[in-house]
Amino acid sequence: MISMTALGVLGLLALFLLLALRFPVALAMILVGVVGTVVATANRFLLLGMSSDQAWSRGLKTAMSNLSGETFEAASNYNLLVIPMFVLMGNLAGVSGMSADLFTAAYRWMGHMRGGLASATIAACAGFAALSGSSLAAAITMGRVALPEMKKFNYADSLATGSVAAGGTLGFLIPPSGGMIIYAVLTEQSIGRLFMAGVIPGLLMTLLFIAAIYLTVLRRPQAGPPGQRASWPERRSATLAALPFVAVVGLTIGGMYTGFFTPVEASSVGAFLTLVVALWRRSLTLSALREVVLQTVKASATVFLIIIGAFIFIPFMSITELPGQLVSLMTSLPIGDYGILLIIILIYMFLGMFLEGIAMLVLTIPVVLPIIAALDFGFDPSMADMKMIWFGIVVVIVLEMGMISPPVGLNVFVVKSIAPGVPMGQIFRGIWPFWFAMAFMLLLLALFPQIAIFLPQTMVG
């Protein structure tokens, strides 16, 4: 017989070995979850004195029951309807031309300033993030529009590509966010409250990114030369063209905040309104429609299989009691709540260098969450849910940092695919000001948790 803790550690090691061998993350979680549940359950019954045959039979039965039950549970989870709906909304926004309108509006207002085009890219990414929950979608969509413009005005490649890669990460923080939906499902928190918690940090992060650009061009003015100043009629027409975006975002996010819609309802209405805009602009050709549908089905496949994996893996972790042991270990360290938080953030940053954001989220939450639950961070015990929501925002920002960190920052690879002539090293050099802006945001969140929890506390319903 093997101790439960050792079994949990072995399970984690097996999981990372499978991941290193390029086994799909979801399948690795399912495999380790199933085998681990068989062994752990049998082990537990053997410890209780049950015969070997009966114990293994019980273990097998539990694992098989989890395999089918958790799979169907994930596929039929009503709250998860928001995933395909918000992905559809983002994809429709991409083909409807709303993303280009957003960039044009931001460009007309900010393009004449030093670094203004890069700032306009960040502002447009923030806007697009409010329509799409994917940072990759935001980086691709905005990159295609903004990079040629920045090249035209002789922007430094590092600043141009860095601002697109970093701006794209806002898609993960500003609601609707795919990462927040998964965090909410895994931690049993309200999706709507998590979305609201992302609004103020998302806006602050946008401002911090723009400040990072300002500091960059202050130091190297040639990195972001000013563009042409737009006339007032040009600014007005560009702003008017971006109004459908304001309407869609206002209705979906505003509807959730005021309690008029649940998140699921808001996702359907948001997708519908974006569909209307796309039809009204006659941009939804048959090939565009095919692309939108297939991309939405593909993104749904990514998220749902990984959630199924997490649903099967998490019970195994619970049986081993490894998370509980880690809680005891961490809380016994004489470094205080924030010292532990710092360790967790550093571990996330390290993992973010190698793991994809959503994969990292589902792999770490079962272990990290009990630790956070055991600490108070100055939150009143009655505010335990708010603490989890606050931590969700912290995690999402750290995951964003991973998306632009070498060597496997996904957003950087996406930008590289749009700007093949720019060396990777140069893109990563352009990332640093934004990376430090994110680190500063984390500090602000640690010092002032109200930044994240003010809106969820005041929302209706």
Binding site: V293, T296, K298
Partner: protein, 174 residues
């Protein structure tokens, strides 16, 4: 080397199913969801009975067809960072072995879903309002997971025959 013809035919079928069924489910969830909320609930104050049930069943269908389609267009996340440090032979054969393991695992999942589906009606596994049995939806999910198992096995065959796995390309959009 050109794509294996049976892979091409299979991809074409899978893409049409994903587009047709996936598109229908997405359209239903968008249009019916909006109509139920805005018109029936907010304006008429008479939400459609069982609307949530229908949305859930649509989601199950969407997820079911998404899993095998995702398997052919690279949707299921893999961590590639260690691959560059492996010898090409080890990377190829380890991937071959793991694709077969993955296929076996998915086949097991499909069988368990069939077993669970057979008991669904008996155990009262139905939607909450319309009391529609989950049985056929378990079977559909089982079928699609079994197709994904076949895809993983075909990946292994491709690795042996061509040394690499070809996938459906959806372009660069979002």
């Amino acid at each position: 080397m050109s794509d294996l013809f049976w892979i091409k035919a299979f991809d074409s079928l899978l893409t049409w199913v994903a587009f047709g069924v996936g598109g229908a489910m997405l359209a239903f969830m968008t249009l019916f969801g909006t109509w139920n909320v805005l018109v029936m609930r907010k304006v008429m104050n008479a939400p459609v009975r069982g609307a949530e049930d229908l949305m859930i069943l649509s989601l199950v269908i969407l997820v079911a067809i998404a899993i095998p389609f995702g398997g052919r267009c690279g949707a299921h996340i893999e961590i590639e960072v260690m691959e560059s440090r492996m010898s090409p032979g080890f990377a190829r054969w380890s991937m071959f072995g793991l694709r077969l393991v993955g296929g076996g695992l998915m086949l097991l999942m499909a069988l368990e879903l069939v077993e669970a589906g057979k008991k669904a009606t008996r155990f009262g596994e139905t939607t909450q309002q319309l009391l529609i049995s989950y049985e056929p939806f378990y079977f559909l999910l089982a079928l699609c997971v079994a197709v994904y198992a076949l895809i993983l096995a075909s990946d292994a065959v491709q690795l042996v025959l061509r040394g690499k796995i070809s996938q459906i390309s959806l372009g660069e959009a979002s």
